[in-house]
């Protein structure tokens, strides 16, 4: 009973811990309901070759990475060198989804900054983006051999994420 005066202090410490956890979390990182669900199907024109289509079904049997990007998106430019690094590692094909973009501007960006994508699908009106729950470009998905989404990252990826999460996960998925 002597330690009664410590109760408010303890409550305060608990409150501080909760606030510290809450403040260090990014409110834009909302858990995606798409994890462990099949990647939504689509069939839309490619960016570089508008007469050809791309559909995720054609990637069945291999682990691949889907990166949602746009030329108007500043964070995508920041992310771009990391994607080039990822593509150069040749660990898995990187497919771009050019989200709500202008074709000329998108092509110009790839021409000046390098093109990490095996190919890009051209989602002019953002309809495919809606199916993938895109709300903060860039977004990156890792999709396994069966076409199931195993990982989603919102916002630019960096070398740290590449090494600590993406490479290990892709290698693991490739083994299964």
């Amino acid at each position: 009973m002597k330690a009664k005066f410590l109760i408010p202090l303890l409550l305060f410490i608990i409150l501080v811990v909760f606030l510290a956890i809450g403040l260090n979390r990014d409110p834009h990182e909302v858990p995606s309901p798409l994890i462990n669900k099949p990647a939504p199907a689509f069939d839309i024109a490619q960016l570089e070759q508008p007469n050809k289509n791309f559909s995720p079904a054609s990637m069945k049997g291999q682990v691949w990475i889907l990166n949602v990007w746009a030329s108007w998106c500043v964070a995508c430019r920041e992310e771009h060198p990391v994607l080039v690094e990822l593509a150069n590692s040749q660990i898995a094909p990187v497919i771009g989804l050019d989200y709500k973009d202008k074709r000329e501007q998108a092509l110009a960006m790839l021409a000046t900054q390098g093109n990490p994508y095996t190919l890009s699908a051209f989602d002019a009106n953002g309809r495919v983006g809606i199916d993938y729950g895109v709300y903060g470009v860039p977004e990156t998905y890792i999709i396994d051999k069966a076409g199931i989404i195993r990982f989603k990252h919102i916002g630019p990826i960096n070398s740290q994420l590449l090494n600590q999460k993406i490479y290990p996960l892709v290698s693991e998925l490739k083994k299964s």
Partner: protein, 158 residues
């Protein structure tokens, strides 16, 4: 004076026609009404403090267009809600559904209320026990009566 009135009236009329141009939504008031009632209950994910109905972000525009199409296709409100939840998670809903992960959210406040009431009752009971209940002896009563009567005599009781 009369011509001035007509000029003003024409201006007003033209103005309203311009205003109609600016509102792209009101094709079918019934659909718009449903769109508003559904999207007011949803969070815009880009600007998280705004509802989907009130947000002017690109994504909110697209999603409203999508919901409008779903309404035109004859989908029910629940179907439209699950369309959104499948893509963006429960987070889009301002009223989170009751399920194991949200139990704490829903019953937490009531649990805290009950704990509070229990602590209050316990405290009150302990406080009551702490006060020694005294029974007055006959001598005490006499003393009290004497004092009260004295007061009355002195007129202090008024």
């Amino acid at each position: 004076m009369k011509s001035l009135f007509w000029i003003l009236l024409t201006c007003v009329c033209f103005n309203t026609s311009f205003a109609k141009d600016a509102a792209p939504l009101a094709d079918d008031p019934v659909i718009e009404q449903r769109l508003i009632s559904i999207s007011e209950e949803m969070r815009c994910l880009v600007c998280q403090n705004e509802s989907l109905a009130g947000s002017r972000s690109e994504l909110a525009n697209d999603l409203r267009r999508e919901i409008r199409t779903l309404i035109q296709e004859g989908k029910s409100d629940d179907q439209i809600r699950s369309f959104m939840v499948e893509r963006y998670g429960d987070f889009v809903l301002y009223r989170p559904p009751v399920k194991p992960i949200t139990w704490l959210l829903w019953i937490g406040p009531f649990v805290i209320l009950i704990i509070g009431i229990a602590i209050l009752l316990g405290y009150l009971r302990r406080r009551n026990q702490g006060i020694p209940s005294t029974t007055l002896s006959a001598a005490d009563n006499q003393k009290i009566d004497a004092l009260l009567n004295q007061d009355k005599r002195d007129g202090l009781n008024d």
